[in-house]
Every structure is written in structure tokens, then in C-alpha cells.
């Protein structure tokens, strides 16, 4: 199926395209990981995918929901303060915010969450902002 971003955000805002590219390429890794888990029972499959791949500058983490929505996070390698469980909790928060967005009956699954014409997902956006700013 098509892999288009429902939401993408980066800070600082230069080199944004590079991050977009990294996220897109990491989707392949995510797909690989999902299929590698096979047809295991859903409840046994971990949603958190862990470190997808490291480059010299960045680390990329992945997470997938039960409805096959993928979350990808790119962090700076020099940010050694971020531990695995922190990444996990960030993904968990993302997931929670995402389910909140889903609860809105005016939201059609597959819509962009971020469109400037859509006043939806403001809470989601604010949550992402709050996560990003302390990190930088």
C-alpha cells in the first residue's frame, strides 16, 4: 500500500528534506521487521521496534501500531542522554495521542493530521512539540 506521511515534523527546520528522506527509507526497515515477526499473535508482538538502523549522525527508531500505522523517530546520535525506555515512552505518548485523534468522529483514518486546513490534531501537534523542544 501507499506509504505517505500522516504527520511529519522536524526541528530544527533546516535540513528538513534530509529527515524526510531518512524517514522514508526507514519505512523499508520497518516493513522488514514487521514481516519478520511472522503471523504471531497480535498480543505477543511488540509494538516498539527499537533501533532500526544507526548512521554516524543519527539513530532511527521505529514503532508500529496494531492498525499498521508506523511511527518513526530520528534522533541525533550525539544525544546520548536519551535512553531506550525514554524512546519507548515517547512512542507510547505518540500512540496515545494518535488514538485520541482517531476518537474524533470528524477524523477520517488516512487523513493527514497536520494539514494546515485541518484544525484536527492540535493536541497531537502540541504533544509532539512538547517532546521535541526539550530534546533539542
Amino acid at each position: 500500500g501507499a506509504n505517505y506521511p500522516l504527520y511529519i515534523r522536524s526541528t530544527p527546520t533546516e535540513n528538513e528534506l534530509k529527515f524526510h528522506y531518512m524517514v522514508h527509507t526507514s519505512l523499508d526497515v520497518v516493513d522488514e521487521k514487521i514481516s519478520a515477526m511472522g503471523k504471531a499473535l497480535v498480543d505477543q508482538r511488540e509494538l516498539y521496534l527499537g533501533l532500526l538502523y544507526p548512521t554516524e549522525d543519527y539513530k532511527v527508531y521505529g514503532y508500529v501500531t496494531n492498525s499498521k500505522v508506523k511511527f518513526v523517530m530520528v534522533v541525533d546520535s550525539s544525544n546520548t542522554a536519551l535512553r531506550d525506555n525514554e524512546i519507548r515512552s515517547m512512542f507510547r505518548k505518540l500512540h496515545n495521542s494518535y488514538t485520541d485523534v482517531m476518537c474524533n468522529p470528524f477524523y477520517n483514518p488516512g487523513d493527514r493530521i497536520q494539514s494546515r486546513f485541518v484544525c484536527l490534531g492540535r493536541a497531537f501537534d502540541n504533544m509532539v512539540t512538547s517532546m521535541m523542544i526539550p530534546v533539542c
Binding site: 496515545n96 476518537c103 474524533n104 470528524f106 485541518v118 493536541a123 523542544i133
Partner: protein
């Protein structure tokens, strides 16, 4: 409200701060604010603010006085405002030119959205900044100095516009227009008169003749929210007065009077009539007042208001406090109120105002009142009731009893989703399996100690939750279709005499079941709040207290499991709802057959007796 398409209409090309990109909406808003601050500096009779003298000659600047008041009205802390003033360059150049002003406004918007006050923050798109102050200059423009006395809220008044697309007829509309004029005067005497009547631009002209209206900006202009200012800005008392002197004289009265902080909430405060109206609308969608309106039903209903989908989704985000995809009565009232406000030109708030919070609404409007209303409506709508209706009722009562618990279950689910986020441990399993056992209508507070259930138990409980929720879906649809059934049945030949006494008996038995259910929710919520970390009852789980890290890992697994289950339940809901509607159709037909048969029986009976 939200910044529209990012047209790069350059805001200012001054030196110093980086060039600013403003959208059209922002451009309009900022220039208007700027004009106001600049104009207010020069105009106004009486002792003008001393700062006016500081205006640099020859340049268009906003005087520091009005600007300072405006900033304070944004309700940001003082140090933030200092930061903003510094950043925008006004400190450096010594005055607020257009560039500085615009940058400052953008920074205010950023700060209000929770972003740090930095130049980078203003590069992203932001909503318009919010200011809490009375829009006196707006009145200047609209030029209605005649009406000085204001009655309070407007909003019941505004519900009449809502009528045009909700299904009320003209007669009701008239009543609504009249009652608001009465009641606001009777409403709490502490509320000071302050609103000037301002003619709204489109479509509401016929209602202009009656009650006062809070000044709204014209819908198209999308001005920042301006409300009468409370003292909450924290500035010294003299400042507001100074600001006032530069404004229309007629408002000096109103300014002196206003000093309640509750003032700020006025547009967001729901009056009695409004509450009644919302409650009636709720009932038309969902006969059970303590139950939910599902997301799709609410969506259809609110879409009729002709607000745009983005705005409706934002309103939903604001009002669905527990994010469960359904609206309780309080949430529904809040949403409805926001829609009404929006339709009348108020920009939507950044967050749900305190007077629209569900807890506040529940506390402010006690439910027993509803109960009587409910009863009245039932007796009204059963003028020529028939026996089948009795049977319906009796069946429904029993169904409702069993369904009482699923209601609480659903509440638990909804509350639990909330609890999930706030606490580490999930609380869902708490009472679900216990409920069938304790049908007395009150949840016994579960024992304190939480040995956490293992995942397998969670799944067992999840399944029972799913079942209960399915039952509830069925029950809701029954109720809805029952409401539809009523008009149909009343058209059938009536059996008034015999049926009415028995009907009344049943009717009397009906309302009592409601309080039981209603008690469920507060009980639920109370116990929920008390003990968010209680365990599944039922099969007593092994009392082994696992070591801490394992427990945490389990709880996160459980959380994910619960979220999965929630999603599954929602899908199941949809399927069942569809099924249910089909079954309801069949049920209707069967009911009609039954009516016919009953009639025949009645006719035949005397013969056989003899």
C-alpha cells in the same frame, strides 16, 4: 482562527528581527490591532494616557499604553511579556512600529500555544493570539452608541439561530427569543451590564430587536477573541482605567462595574435556557440522559450546523474531554455551546474554558431536574398509547436493568482510557466481571490492594467487556428506535381506556430505573478516581507480588493489550450497530402484527366469555 493558507504577505520589512511571514488572516488581525493601538493613542477625550506623548512624531506607531494593555490582556506572565518586548525589537528602537508590533503579536500567539518565546517559534504557523479585553474599539466602528444598557448573555439568543437548522418550528423560536430577554435580566445580579448591542452581519437581523448581544466580531473578519476584561490580567487597577479613558465615554460605566474574574467566562457560561435547549437536543438524539451520544451520531448532528469540518473537529477535540469517541451530556452541552458561540463569531478558545468542563457542568446542573422533564416528555408523547407500548415498556425495563451494567461498563471503559494516560497501571479490569454479580445498582468499592492480573485474565475481562459493550450498543439502538416507534404507534388505533392505567404503572416504573443508572456513573467515576489501580475482581488473581520491573513491563503490555482491545471493540460496535438496525426493522413489523392480533383478541373475548 487558524492561520489560513500561508500567503507570504510580508508583515514588516524593518531591520533587526528576521522578516515575518504572515497569513492573510493574521495580516488582517494584526493590522487591525495595530490600528487600534495606534488610534487609541491619539483619540479619546479626557485625559489621555501620558504615554501618548511618547509616540515618535511622523511615524505610525502604537503607543506603549494601549499596547501594554493589549499584551497584558493576552494573559501571559509579565516576564514573558518582557521577553517578547525585547525580542520584537521594541525595546531596542524605543517604540512599537508595525514590524515590532507584528512580531510581538506573533510571539504572543506562540507563547499562548505553549511554545518558548524565541524567534524560531514565530516561523511556524500559529493561531491568532488571544486577548481578554472588551472590544471597545470595535464598538466605535460599529457605531452603536445608543444602547448602553446591556443585558447579559446573548448566547440563549444565539440558540435561536441554531433553531434554523435544528428542527424547531417558528413558534418555539419565538418563545426562545422571548425567554432569553427575560431570563438574563433575572440571572445572577452580580453580572454587570456591559455589552453593547452590535448588529451582526449576516442572517441574524430579525433577532436584533430583542436581547442584547455581546459584541462579536464579524464572522468573516476573524478577529482575535475579545472579551470583557476581568481583573485577572493582574495589572494594577489604574491601568484598565487609563485604557478606558481613551475609549468611548459610554463604556466608562461598564468598565467600573466589571471586576469579577468570572466575567471572563461569560460567553462560555451556559445559562439555564441554553442548558435546557441542549438537553432537549441531547434527548432527541439519545433518550437516555445519562448515556452517550456516539461519535457518528454527534457528527451528523453537528454537521448540520454548517460549520466547517476542521472547526467541528476542533470543537470535538475540545469538548470530548475523555477522548472516548462519545459525548456525555455535559460534553455534548459544551460542544453545542462552542458551536453556537462559533456561529456567532467568537473564535474558538485554545482550551476548554473552565465553565464548560464536564465536571463543572455536572455540578452546576444537577440531574434531578432532568428527571422531571423526562417524565413530562414521556407523558406528553404517549397521548393515545396502546397495549403494545406497555409491553414494549415492560420489556424495555427489564432489558434496561440488565443493560444498566453495560452502561457502567462503557463508562468504565471511557474513564479507563483516561486513567490509562494518567496512571501507570490500567484500571479497566476493575469492576467489569463483578458487575453481573452486584446488580443492586451500586458498585461496591473494590478492596484496596492491587495484585496485578496477568495478561490472560486481562483477556478474559476484555472479552466480557466486549460483550457488555455489544449489549449496550444493542440497547442504545433500541432506545433510539423506540423513540421512533412512538409516533408510529400513536397513529395506530388506540386502546386508550384499558391501556392507560397499565401504561401509567409502567411509566412510573420507568423513571426509577433512570436514577439507578445515573447513580452508576457518579459512583463509577468516584470509585474510579479513588482507586485507579484496582484489580479485576472475579477470579481472585494470584496474590503474588511480582518484583517491580516485571510489574512495570506487564503493565505496559497490558496497556497495549487494552488499546488493542479498545480498537477491536469499536469495530465490533460498528458491526453490531448495523445488525441491530436491521433487527429493529423486523421488530417494528412484528410489533405491528402484534397490535393487530391484540385487537382481534379483544374483539373476540366477550364472545368466548359468554
Amino acid at each position: 482562527m487558524e492561520a489560513a493558507a500561508a500567503a507570504a504577505a510580508g508583515g514588516g520589512c524593518g531591520s533587526g528581527p528576521p522578516p515575518l511571514l504572515l497569513s492573510e488572516g493574521e495580516q488582517q488581525c494584526y493590522s487591525e490591532l495595530f490600528a487600534r493601538c495606534a488610534g487609541a493613542a491619539g483619540g479619546g477625550p479626557g485625559p489621555g494616557p501620558p504615554e501618548a506623548a511618547r509616540v515618535a512624531p511622523g511615524t505610525v506607531t502604537a503607543a506603549a499604553g494601549p499596547v501594554a494593555d493589549l499584551f497584558r490582556a493576552s494573559q501571559l506572565p509579565a516576564e514573558t511579556l518582557h521577553q517578547i518586548t525585547e525580542l520584537c525589537g521594541a525595546k531596542r528602537v524605543g517604540y512599537f512600529g508595525p514590524t515590532q508590533f507584528y512580531i510581538a503579536l506573533k510571539l504572543i500567539a506562540a507563547a499562548q500555544s505553549g511554545l518558548p518565546v524565541r524567534i524560531e517559534s514565530i516561523k511556524c504557523e500559529l493561531p491568532l493570539p488571544r486577548f481578554m479585553m472588551s472590544k471597545n474599539d470595535g464598538e466605535i466602528r460599529f457605531g452603536n452608541p445608543a444602547e448602553l444598557h446591556g443585558t447579559k448573555v446573548q448566547i440563549p439568543y444565539l440558540t435561536t439561530e441554531k433553531n434554523s437548522f435544528k428542527r424547531m418550528d417558528d413558534e418555539d423560536k419565538q418563545q426562545e427569543t422571548q425567554s432569553p430577554t427575560m431570563s438574563p435580566l433575572a440571572s445572577p445580579p452580580s453580572s454587570p451590564p456591559h455589552y453593547q448591542r452590535v448588529p451582526l452581519s449576516h442572517g441574524y437581523s430579525k433577532l436584533r430587536s430583542s436581547a442584547e448581544q455581546m459584541h462579536p466580531a464579524p464572522y468573516e473578519a476573524r478577529q482575535p477573541l475579545v472579551q470583557p476584561e476581568g481583573s485577572s490580567s493582574g495589572g494594577p487597577g489604574t491601568k484598565p482605567l487609563r485604557h478606558q479613558t481613551s475609549l468611548i465615554r459610554s463604556f466608562s460605566v461598564e468598565r467600573e462595574l466589571q471586576d469579577n474574574s468570572s466575567y471572563l467566562d461569560e460567553p462560555w457560561r451556559i445559562t439555564e435556557e441554553q442548558r435546557e435547549y441542549y438537553v432537549n437536543q441531547f434527548r432527541s438524539l439519545q433518550p437516555d440522559p445519562s448515556s452517550f451520544i456516539s461519535g457518528s451520531v454527534a457528527k451528523n448532528f453537528f454537521t448540520k450546523s454548517k460549520l466547517s469540518i476542521p472547526e467541528l473537529s476542533y470543537i470535538w477535540e475540545l469538548s470530548d474531554a475523555d477522548c472516548d469517541g462519545a459525548l456525555t451530556l455535559s460534553e455534548f452541552c459544551a460542544a453545542f455551546h462552542l458551536i453556537v458561540a462559533r456561529k456567532n463569531g467568537y473564535p474558538l478558545p485554545e482550551g476548554l474554558p473552565p465553565t464548560l468542563q464536564p465536571e463543572y457542568l455536572q455540578a452546576a446542573f444537577p440531574k434531578p431536574k432532568w428527571d422531571c422533564q423526562l417524565f413530562d416528555s414521556y407523558s406528553e408523547s404517549l397521548p393515545a398509547n396502546q397495549q403494545p407500548r406497555d409491553l414494549n415498556r415492560m420489556e424495555k425495563t427489564s432489558v434496561k436493568d440488565t443493560a444498566d451494567l453495560p452502561v457502567s461498563t462503557q463508562d468504565v471503559t471511557g474513564d479507563d482510557k483516561q486513567a490509562l494516560k494518567s496512571t501507570v497501571n490500567e484500571a479497566l479490569p476493575k469492576d467489569v466481571s463483578e458487575d453481573p454479580a452486584t446488580k443492586s445498582g451500586l458498585l461496591p468499592p473494590p478492596p484496596a490492594l492491587p495484585p496485578r492480573p496477568c495478561p490472560s485474565q486481562i483477556w478474559a475481562i476484555m472479552n466480557s467487556v466486549a460483550v457488555n459493550i455489544c449489549i449496550q450498543v444493542v440497547e442504545w439502538s433500541e432506545q433510539v428506535s423506540e423513540a421512533e416507534l412512538l409516533p408510529q404507534l400513536s397513529r395506530a388505533p388506540s386502546q386508550a381506556a384499558e391501556s392507560s392505567p397499565s401504561k401509567k404503572d409502567v411509566l412510573y416504573s420507568q423513571p426509577p430505573s433512570k436514577p439507578i443508572r445515573r447513580k452508576f456513573r457518579p459512583e463509577n467515576q468516584a470509585t474510579e478516581n479513588q482507586e485507579p489501580s484496582t484489580v479485576a475482581s472475579g477470579p481472585a488473581s494470584a496474590a503474588t507480588v511480582k518484583p517491580h520491573p516485571t510489574v512495570q513491563k506487564q503493565s505496559s503490555k497490558q496497556k497495549k493489550a487494552i488499546q488493542t482491545a479498545i480498537r477491536k471493540n469499536k469495530e465490533a460496535n460498528a458491526v453490531l450497530a448495523r445488525l441491530n438496525s436491521e433487527l429493529q426493522q423486523q421488530l417494528k413489523e412484528v410489533h405491528q402484527e402484534r397490535i393487530a392480533l391484540e385487537n382481534q383478541l379483544e374483539q373476540l373475548r366477550p364472545v368466548t366469555v359468554l
